[in-house]
C-alpha cells in the first residue's frame, strides 16, 4: 500500500472507513489515560496547580505547527506530484490547524495570566504564533474565495509553502530573542529538563492529540471527497436541466415555424 494506491478516492474512502473507528478508539483511550495521569501529576513547587494547563497547552502548540507541516507536504504533493488527494488533505487540515492554534493561544493566555501577570504580551513566540493563526485564517479565506477547487488548490499550495517559512521562526524564536516565553525544555540537547512525573503525561497527551488530529483529518478528508462528489453531481444535473430547457424553446420555435409554414 503506497501513496499512489491511495490516489483513487474510492479506495481511500474504503480504507479510511475501516481504519477510522480504531483510530477514534485509540484516541479516546489515550486521551483518557493522559488526562488521568495529568490530573494525578504533582503540583509544581512554584506554579502550583496551574502547571496542569501545560498538558493541554503544549500538545496544542505542537500540533499548530505540525498541521502546517502536514499542509506543506500536501502542497508539495499538489504542485510537484499532482497527487489527486493532496489538495483534499491540505484543504481539510486548514480549519483543524486553525482550531489547534487558537486553543494554544487561548490556553497560553489563561496560563500567562497567573504566571506572568498578563493575558497577552508582544513576545516573539506569542507574536509569531498569532501570525500563524492569521495565516491559517487567510488560507481558509483563499479556499472559500474561489469556486473551482483545483484552481484554489494550486494557489493555496503556493501560499502554504511560503507560510512554512514561519515555522522555523516560531520554533527558534525563544532561543533567538530572549523574551518572556521559556525556551524549549522537552526536546533539547542533553535530555529533557522536565521531571518524569510531568514528562510522561505530557508525552501521552502529545501522542493522544496527534492521534486526534489524524482522526479528525481523515474524517474531514472523507467529508471533502463526498462534498466534491455531491458538487459534481449537482453540476451535472444543472447542466442537464440547462440542456433540456435549451431544447425546449428550440422545439417550440420549430413548431412555430411549422405553423407559419402551414398557414
Amino acid at each position: 500500500m503506497t501513496l499512489i494506491d491511495l490516489a483513487n478516492p474510492t479506495r481511500f474512502l474504503a480504507l479510511t472507513a475501516r481504519v477510522l473507528p480504531w483510530l477514534a478508539a485509540a484516541t479516546v483511550l489515550l486521551l483518557a489515560i493522559g488526562l488521568y495521569q495529568a490530573a494525578l501529576a504533582p503540583d509544581d513547587y512554584q506554579q502550583g496547580a496551574t502547571v496542569k494547563i501545560m498538558f493541554i497547552h503544549v500538545p496544542n502548540a505542537w500540533l499548530s505547527m505540525f498541521v502546517w507541516g502536514v499542509m506543506s507536504i500536501a502542497s508539495l504533493g499538489t504542485l510537484v506530484w499532482r497527487h489527486p488527494l493532496a489538495d483534499v488533505a491540505a484543504k481539510a487540515a486548514a480549519p483543524i490547524g486553525a482550531a489547534f492554534t487558537f486553543l494554544a493561544l487561548l490556553t497560553g493566555s489563561l496560563w500567562g495570566r497567573p504566571m506572568w501577570g498578563t493575558y497577552w504580551e508582544w513576545d516573539a513566540r506569542l507574536t509569531s504564533v498569532l501570525i500563524l493563526f492569521l495565516m491559517y485564517l487567510g488560507l481558509m479565506a483563499l479556499w472559500r474565495a474561489v469556486d473551482d477547487p483545483s484552481r484554489a488548490a494550486r494557489a493555496a499550495a503556493v501560499l502554504t509553502l511560503v507560510g512554512a517559512l514561519n515555522l522555523p521562526i516560531i520554533k527558534f524564536s525563544v532561543d533567538w530573542w530572549n523574551t518572556l516565553h521559556q525556551p524549549a525544555s522537552v526536546m533539547r540537547m542533553g535530555g529533557s529538563a522536565l521531571d518524569k512525573s510531568f514528562l510522561i503525561p505530557l508525552l501521552v497527551m502529545a501522542i493522544a492529540f496527534t492521534l486526534l488530529f489524524v482522526t479528525l483529518h481523515l474524517a474531514a478528508m472523507r467529508n471533502e471527497i463526498l462534498r466534491r462528489r455531491v458538487r459534481s453531481l449537482q453540476m451535472m444535473q444543472a447542466s442537464r436541466v440547462a440542456f433540456s430547457s435549451e431544447i425546449g424553446p428550440g422545439a417550440r420555435g420549430q413548431n412555430a415555424s411549422n405553423e407559419v409554414g402551414a398557414a
Binding site: 492569521l134 494550486r154 494557489a155 511560503v162
Partner: protein
C-alpha cells in the same frame, strides 16, 4: 538581460504615465499620515514618539494599495501571457516587474518621508533613520506582496483577499523596521541589530518572492 531592462523600463514608464497609478500611493501615504493627528490629537510630543510607527504603517498600506496593479493590468491586456511564454525565465521576469514596481511606487514613498516627518515633528536624525529603514524594508514589502498579487491575478480576485494574504507576511518587516527607527530615536537597543535583520528579510524575500510568484502564475494562468 536587454529583455529584462526593456521590461523594467516599460513598467516604470507605464506606471508613471496617466492612468498608471504609481503616484496615487504617495498621495494615499500623505493622507494616512495627515489623518493620524486627527485621531490621536495634535500633541507634538506624542506625534514625534509615534512618528516612525505612523510612517511605517502608512508606507505599508500605501505599498499594499498599489500592489494589485503589478500583474492585473498586464493580465487584462494579454501581455502577461506573452511574458509567461517568452524565453526569459518567468522568475527573472517577475523579479524585474517587482523591481520596476518598487522604483515607480516604493521609491516615491521614501522621497516623501522627509516632508511627512516634518508634519510629525520628527527631527533630522529620526527622519533620516525612518527613510533609511524604509529604503531597506520596502523592497521586502514589494517582493512578498508580489506573491499575493500573483495569487490574486490567477484567482481573478483582488482587493481584500490580497490584503488578508499579504499583511501577515509583512508583519516581521514592520516589526524590525519600526524597531530600528525607534532604536535611533529613543534607544536603548542598537540600530545595527534590527537594521541587519531588516536587510536580511529584504534579501530573503528577494529570493523567495519571484519563485513563489512565478510558480503561482505558471500553475494558475490558463
Amino acid at each position: 538581460m536587454t529583455a529584462l531592462a526593456a521590461l523594467i523600463r516599460r513598467d516604470v514608464r507605464i506606471a508613471l504615465r496617466v492612468g498608471g497609478g504609481a503616484l496615487i500611493g504617495v498621495l494615499f501615504f500623505l493622507t494616512v499620515v495627515v489623518l493620524m493627528p486627527f485621531a490621536v490629537g495634535p500633541d507634538l510630543a506624542l506625534l514625534s514618539r509615534l512618528g516612525p510607527a505612523i510612517l511605517w504603517l502608512g508606507a505599508l498600506l500605501a505599498s499594499l494599495l498599489t500592489l494589485d496593479r503589478l500583474f492585473m493590468a498586464d493580465h487584462e491586456d494579454g501581455s502577461l501571457d506573452l511574458i509567461t511564454m517568452s524565453r526569459t525565465p518567468l522568475e527573472l521576469a517577475c523579479a524585474a516587474k517587482a523591481l520596476a514596481h518598487w522604483l515607480a511606487a516604493g521609491l516615491p514613498l521614501i522621497v516623501a518621508t522627509p516632508v511627512l516627518g516634518l508634519l510629525l515633528n520628527l527631527d533630522m536624525v529620526a527622519t533620516g533613520a525612518v527613510a533609511l529603514t524604509l529604503l531597506a524594508g520596502t523592497p521586502a514589502l514589494t517582493f512578498t506582496g508580489m506573491i499575493g498579487a500573483a495569487l490574486a491575478v490567477t484567482l481573478h480576485r483582488g482587493g481584500l483577499l490580497m490584503a488578508v494574504l499579504v499583511l501577515p507576511l509583512s508583519i516581521p518587516v514592520l516589526i524590525f523596521g519600526v524597531a530600528a527607527s525607534q532604536a535611533v530615536i529613543v534607544g536603548p537597543m542598537t540600530f545595527g541589530a534590527p537594521f541587519s535583520i531588516l536587510c536580511a528579510l529584504s534579501l530573503v524575500s528577494l529570493v523567495i518572492g519571484p519563485f513563489a510568484a512565478a510558480a503561482s502564475l505558471r500553475h494558475g494562468l490558463d
